[in-house]
């Protein structure tokens, strides 16, 4: 996650509202840029933990204040008009975040950002780092285990009274980690995974705008123009103030309607009315969406409900094995019609040969054969039963080491190439799109930690590192 922000002089803008621009484009970095990040080896078994409610992505955010008098359709490129941009930084960066190696990823992205800004100069880059519990000083820890997860509840070394807790709770309503980073005077903030909303909500929250409106606006703006009639049109502007917020798409021909804006609460959200965030939840049950004109929508009535205890979500991942893939395509009509039987026969013969040659049983590896064109997407849930023109057979082998996965793949290779449906026929040969047929795809990672962590102070598990470039 990359967050870049320009926090302008704040003393003179309090209570005048906050204007932000958000877009949903994708940035695909060039190979040179990727090399520039220096994605070297990282400790493959490390598990990071972070605050985010969604699967990991690397996103670039630029947050800033835009004068309300700015004309529309200028795309925010005018000198001195900061905009919110937002993008996924391409697959390799996503993979870094997927490894959950938050701190490693943040440092790499920080280096990348500093290099990118080197020519311009005069930027202050702030890294917001999540601190794994074991890296915090022992005096700050009150170690406990939560459930089956080896999780430490972090507490500050102060013993807070109930009264102090309530005071802190009130303070926290206007404080969060991204805001702390902006307070340093940051031009660019690079953070690990955060919730989509936390990055956009930070600036209006720290300027004292309506908390419910700030979080709700952040959710609506998380994917830019996805909340408008033309989702591909990119940039929207959100104006947040002391009561509510207004959403306006900036592209010609794009419109926001009460329907398109309110419908965005459905997106990637299991409950369309409640959104849990660090420190509380957003409740939009009573939100009112009103068209200002045929383009803009005004939203009021959003409620931010602070939680009694401040929590951040912890997600962790670990290596779950190494994979080798094979792909064969089958176009012969008789084989396509009998593809399930053919694949099942291959699976049992392959398992037998792996046992004979390598002495491995089902507990030592996994080999799955998915039939593309028949059931690869839905598996046992598939309800359609139409014969396709061709079928792909994708072999997915997962084993404790890459070498073992590859060797098991090599044993699968001749089956996919030559296995006959019956003994009495000539040896068939099927299409391999690649050579060599075994594709090593490296480690796979699976979630191993899904918890919340209680903090006395939102910054207890985080640190800021400031770099002037």
């Amino acid at each position: 996650m990359v967050a870049a922000a320009r926090a302008e002089s704040r003393a003179d803008v309090v209570n005048r509202g906050t204007a932000l621009r958000a877009c949903s484009g994708q940035i695909q970095p060039t190979a040179r840029a990727i090399r520039g990040i220096g994605l070297g080896p990282w400790p493959a078994d490390a598990a990071g933990a972070l605050i985010r409610a969604r699967p990991p992505d690397c996103r670039l955010h630029r947050v800033g204040r835009v004068g309300k008098a700015q004309p529309r359709h200028d795309n925010g490129h005018r000198r001195g008009v900061p905009s919110i941009g937002r993008a996924q930084l391409g697959q390799r960066l996503t993979r870094v975040a997927r490894l959950e190696l938050d701190i490693v990823a943040v440092r790499q992205l920080a280096r990348f950002t500093v290099e990118l800004n080197f020519a311009k100069g005069g930027h202050r880059t702030v890294q917001l780092l999540f601190l794994a519990p074991q890296t915090l000083g022992a005096s700050r820890l009150d170690a406990r285990r939560l459930g089956c997860g080896l999780l430490l509840i972090l507490r500050s070394h102060f013993g807070f009274t109930a009264q102090q807790r309530r005071e802190h709770q009130r303070e926290r309503a206007e404080r969060q980690q991204i805001a702390e980073a902006l307070e340093t005077g940051a031009d660019i903030v690079i953070a690990g995974r955060t919730t989509d909303t936390a990055i956009i909500a930070a600036l209006p929250l720290m300027r004292g705008d309506h908390a419910g409106a700030a979080w709700h606006a952040a959710k609506i703006g998380e994917c830019g123009a996805l909340c408008a009639t033309n989702p591909q049109s990119g940039v929207i502007q959100i104006d947040i103030d002391g009561e509510g917020f207004t959403v306006t798409p900036l592209a010609d021909g794009a419109h926001c309607t009460p329907h398109t804006v309110s419908a965005h609460m459905l997106y990637e959200n299991s409950d369309p009315f409640i959104l849990y965030e660090p420190g509380g939840h957003l409740d939009v049950t009573a939100a009112r969406y009103a068209a200002i004109d045929d383009t803009s929508v005004r939203v009021t009535g959003s409620v931010w409900v602070p939680s009694e205890r401040y929590t951040v979500k912890l997600e962790g991942a670990r290596v779950a094995g190494y994979q080798t893939l094979l792909l064969a395509t089958v176009r012969d009509r008789r084989y396509v019609e009998n593809i399930r039987a053919w694949v099942d026969d291959i699976a049992s013969r392959h398992a037998q040969r792996v046992a004979n040659r390598m002495g491995l049983g089902p507990e030592d590896y996994a080999c799955e054969l998915r039939i593309i064109g028949v059931e690869a997407t839905l598996g046992p849930l598939e309800t359609r039963r139409e014969a396709p023109a061709e079928a792909g057979v994708m072999g997915i082998i997962t084993a404790p080491t890459q070498e073992r996965a590859n060797e098991i793949g090599k044993i699968l290779n001749p089956f996919l190439l030559h296995h006959p449906l019956t003994r009495e026929e000539e040896q068939p040969t099927f299409a391999f799109p690649f050579s060599p047929a075994e594709i090593d795809r490296g480690a796979i990672y699976e979630f191993c930690l899904n918890h919340v962590m209680e903090l006395d102070d939102p910054m207890d598990a985080f640190s800021l590192e400031v770099r002037d470039a």
Partner: protein, 100 residues
């Protein structure tokens, strides 16, 4: 009987975090919305996705003409058995059910 996908504006599915899947049916009009609310039982959806009905969350949102279902993902995102990292491929399963 027509398929659900042929009478509504859109059926889409997507991850809601790594552990949940959410499916939105945009009905487009009060008439179609009423037809979907009455014609598509939670029990039937649970059976389609092979989850316990008790774990299925259902939201009938009249103001948007939307019926929304959320359910535990068939496989946790990213695991070896996950067939669809972003969860968008499950929507056609629901779009192809027949409805009165």
């Amino acid at each position: 009987m027509p398929e659900l996908g042929s009478i509504v504006e859109k059926v889409r599915s997507k991850n809601a975090g790594p552990f949940w899947l959410t499916v939105d049916i945009f009905c487009g009009s009060p008439e179609v919305y009423a037809r979907v609310v009455n014609g598509l039982s939670s029990e039937r959806v649970a059976r389609l996705f092979r989850v316990e009905e008790a774990t299925l969350k259902r939201f009938d949102i009249a103001v948007l003409h939307v019926v929304k279902f959320s359910l535990p993902r068939p496989a946790i995102q990213g695991t070896a058995h996950d067939r669809d990292m972003h969860g968008a491929g499950w929507a056609p399963l629901l779009a192809e059910v027949e409805i009165n």
